[in-house]
Structures are given as C-alpha cells and as structure tokens.
C-alpha cells in the first residue's frame, strides 16, 4: 500500500496491525482484541480524513498510485471481454483501450483511458495521454456498438490529450472535435464515468453521454491545477490555490449541473477497496442502462443536445434596453 501525505495517520495504524500480527505469530499471543481496536481506529481515522478533503487532496487521490484504472474495472464489472485494437488508419494507441464485453449478460462496448501500473507500463500507456489514434479507435468502437445496438460505457482517466509533434501532424484537434460531434448523435445509450483525472479536451473526447458521472474522488475541468497555476499565476507553486479556484471536484461539478451525478466511493477511496468500488459501478451501470432504454434513440439524442446546450453562465440584457447596435 502507498500513502499520500494526508493519509500518513493510516500508515501508522496499518503498521501497528502488521506488527501485532507478526508478534502473535511468533509468540502465540492472542491479539484479536488489540487488532479490532486498531481496525476501529482506522475506520474513524478514514472517516475523519476523507470527509474533509481539500480540492487539491482530491486531485491527489484521483492520481493515487493504488487507484484502479479502466482495465481493472473492465475485468471486475464485465465478463467475456474481447479487446479490440487499432484505428484502422495509423496504429493502435495504448493510452485508450476498449472492446466487446458483457454486463450482467448484456452485450456492451466498453472503453476508456488506460494508465500504466508500473514504470514500464506507464510509458507504454503514455501516462494515459492519448494520441489522435486513440480517439479514432474509440469512435470506431462506438460506431460498431451503434450498428449492433449495444450500449456504450466509457471510463475517463487522463491528464490530457498528448501534446506531441506527431499528435499535431495527425490532427489531435480534429480527432477530438469529431468525437464530440459524433457522440452527440449516437443512437445507443452512452454512459461516461470519470474514474480518475478528467483533464480538458482529452477527457471530453470520450465524454459525451446520456449520463456523465464522476466517482467521488475525481476531478474534471478545463486544465490541470498545475498548468493553470503556471499560466495564470506564472508560477508552478499555486496548484492548491488553482485547484480551489477551478471548482473541479465531483461535488462542485454536480452542483453546477456539468455532470449528471456523483458515484460514492467506499470509505477511504476507490483504492482502499477496489472490489467494492467495482461492485458499486456495476450496479449503477445495470440500472442506468435499463433506465436509458426506456427512451427511444431520438429522445435520448435530443436530451443529450438539450443537456449540453444548457451549460454556461452569462447575463442577458433585455432587448428593449439595448442601445442601437446596427452598423
């Protein structure tokens, strides 16, 4: 287990438990009572830590090294997964994975950003930063799903679309724009879940759906707090402040109506109990897909357009007050 700064009190408690276990094994002493006391104390500490997180701590949690990634959820939530590769044009992008799967017996298409679980894999997955091929593969898979009337589930977890030379040559902007346009009109139900980082256009590129959800300890906005700090404060050291100002937590995003809801995480976060997290996601997906099938395709598309059309804040001066603006 790895612990973030603010999780340190837990590290001590876990250390005490393993010490006790070691001791009891060696000396044949009964430590059950002490352990259960410590476990109680862990629960209390968790409750204290995770109910008072700052926005920056949420950002840290969303990047927790033990946090489950897309392929973990694919394995635990779905069955009969067959991964599909390639964009049919340039190559296969390892930063986005996807394929055919079954959800409680129902055939679905599932895809998402994938980060690596160790140094080598992180490089192979390009830290979850997709190139245009990733977005084009995602769209190709979604079009197959549409053709065969299979619901689509996307998992969002990216620090951003890759800002590389080849990415520009091959049209990163066009690939993302195309996905936004096409996903709006998909005839099948689409559910998107931010499971970690939701950074900017790279996240939105697989993020247009009937239900766009965020796991509790994730963030979603136009730029990472670090980059925001460097651009607006002209220094890298205002990331905490930027995280606050950006209002990027699941709670804020839900309150603004920019996502459709928050999926609660087990106490201590998804990384503390990945299996429980997967079970919660599975239950959510099954019931939500059923709900979405109550509408016909045309209704779902219209609702999607209306939902995104409402996003934004501005003032509107009443027409008669306006000064003559004709040129």
């Amino acid at each position: 287990m790895q612990f973030l700064d603010f999780e340190k009190p837990l590290e001590d408690l876990y250390a005490q438990i393993s010490k006790l276990k070691e001791m009891s094994a060696k000396n044949q002493v009964d430590v059950t009572k002490s352990i259960s006391e410590l476990e109680l104390s862990i629960d209390e500490t968790k409750a204290r830590i995770y109910t008072h997180l700052t926005p920056w701590q949420r950002v840290q949690l969303s990047r927790h090294p033990d946090r489950p990634y897309t392929l973990y959820y694919i394995e635990k939530v779905f069955s009969n997964f067959t991964e599909l590769y390639g964009d049919r044009q340039v190559k296969d992008d390892k930063a986005i994975v996807g394929g055919m799967a079954e959800l409680d017996g129902m055939p679905v298409m599932v895809l998402g950003h994938q980060k690596g679980v160790n140094t080598k894999m992180r490089q192979m997955r390009n830290f979850g930063m997709a190139n245009p091929e990733g977005y084009r593969k995602a769209l190709r898979l979604m079009k197959i799903a549409e053709k065969f009337n299979r619901p689509i589930i996307t998992f969002i977890d990216t620090p951003g679309a890759y800002p590389g030379l080849e990415a520009e040559e091959r049209g990163q902007a066009e690939a993302i724009a195309r996905n936004l346009f096409e996903m709006v009109n998909l005839k099948v139900p689409v559910i998107c879940i931010v499971i970690g980082e939701g950074a900017s256009g790279g996240a939105l590129g697989i993020g247009i759906g009937d239900k766009v959800m965020m796991l509790e300890n994730t963030w979603y906005t136009v730029i990472s707090p670090e980059s925001c700090s460097s651009i607006l404060w002209r220094s890298w050291s205002f990331k905490e402040k930027a995280a606050e100002q950006l209002r990027l937590t699941s709670e804020d995003m839900n309150q603004f109506g920019l996502v459709d809801g928050v999926i609660p995480e087990p106490l201590g976060g998804a990384h503390a109990n990945p299996e429980a997290m997967a079970a919660i996601i599975k239950e959510f997906l099954i019931s939500t897909i059923q709900d979405l099938y109550k509408f016909d395709a045309e209704t779902r598309i219209t609702q999607r357009i209306e939902k995104f059309s409402k996003m934004g804040f501005y003032d509107e001066i009443e027409e008669e007050e306006k000064t003559e603006q004709s040129a």
């Binding site: 590389g164 936004l180 136009v222 934004g312 001066i317 306006k322």
Partner: protein, 287 residues
Amino acid sequence: MSSTWFRRIKKGILTSTHEKKEAPDGLWHKCPECKTTTTVKELHDNMYVCLKCNYHNRINAEEYFEILFDGEYKLLFDNIVPKDMLGFVDIKSYASRIEDAQDNTGLPDAISVGVGHVKGREMLIACMNFNFIGGSMGSVVGEKICRSVDYCIEYHLPMLLIAKSGGARMMESAFSLMQMAKTSARLTLLARAGLPYISLMTDPTTGGVTASYAMLGDINIAEPNALIGFAGPRVIKETIKRELPAGFQRSEFLLEHGFLDFIVDRKNLKHKLAMVTDWFMKQPKAV
C-alpha cells in the same frame, strides 16, 4: 438583469469600437514580418495584409465584417454578456479582467455575430475577437455560436465562423470546457437542417476552439501562415524536448497533412466565400 458592460454603455464610458479599434497608432505601420513600413491607410485599404510580404495582420470581427459584408449588416446577440459566476481570482479577478477587456475593446465578449450580404448572398458570420482576453472561449462564445446556429436554421442561412483564439477561458473552468460539447452538439442540428457551416481559421486558432467547432466545418479553411493546433508550440516543445520544425502548425502544414480544404488569401476571401456558398445553397435546375 444588467451588466457592467451595459451600465457603462449607458454612462457613455465606452467609446465606440470604431474609435478604439486596434488599428496601429500613428500614420505609419511597420510589418512585424518583413519590417517594411507603410501608411496605416494603405494597410487598411489592403485589408491589413502587408503589401510587400503578404503577412496577414491579426484583425477582429469589425474589420472582417467590413471586408466581407456588402456594407450594411446587423449585429446579433450583443445583449449576451459575460459574468463571473465562480468568483474566480488568480493574480487578478475574472470580474476585473472582463471589465478591462470591455473597456479596452468596446466589445461585450470574444465573439461578434453579424448577419448581412456577401456579394448579395445573405449569410451569418460569427467572428472571434482575439483582443478580448486572447479570444478565449467562455460561456458567451458558446451561447452566441449556438444562437447563431438556431438563427441560421430559422432563416435558412449559411454560417461562416471565423476562429481566432488561444483556446478555452480558464477563468470559467469546466464551464468553458463544456462549451466544446455545447457548440458541437448544436452544430449537429445545423448539419441535420442541411445548411452549410464554413470554418475559417485565422492566426492563432488553438486549444479547445480547434478541438471543437473550428474543425467541424463542412469545409475547414484558413488564412495563410496562421498558427493552428491543439497544443500550443511552447507546450509541445517542453514535452518533446527538441526544437519544432519550421512551419510546424502553420496553415500550409495543416493543408499538407490533410486537415484543411484550402488556404485563402484575405483579398480573395469574399470572392471564394461567395463561390462556395453558391455551391452549397444553389437549387438544382428542375430536370
């Protein structure tokens, strides 16, 4: 529901955009590319394109409307004005950034929408103003593009969008990000109505603007040598840790890589626009 912008119009604090426009001060203008000096009048008469090296100076909506429309045009949706709902503060508050930008430009926000005639063809033109907070896309830009789409559908008009933007407006956080989704969603309605959407990218067009409505034209076109991309050159350089090739992310580069239909000189823009609009809008002769 009044806004600072509107209040200041009433108080007469704002000068008209005409007096305040970014036209170079004084009588002479030095080309940033070839350093040739011309009179401001000559530059204006040449559509702000350098007479010597064809450098396209950055201009905003008012200048494009003057170049493209046959005289009279009507500004639409200028009653939609920005608002600092998040109370965003970095080294400056967003509220004061809005006020400063409005004072300096005389504009309500980073996009202006005009409807008029281009060589006799009625058309809606939405044009971004780079002088307003870097032409950044916030809620007002998104909303005005959506209303432009609705207007085109209602009056059966072709739509031209002139992009010129550094990308999303960070001070509106996720609201600015969602303008990418919002505009793309609404553009599907224009497509369904069978009406043409022409996207003209000008220097610079980057970030979330490129990754949404700027790349979604039935035809995507650009002025010469415009910087067009998703990530900015500085970020790319820092990422790949080497110099970028000459001409990287310029219009000619995008054309070469297949992402533009054609490049058009500002002087031919009106003519070309009329021509392609005819192709889109002409009713076929009855057989």
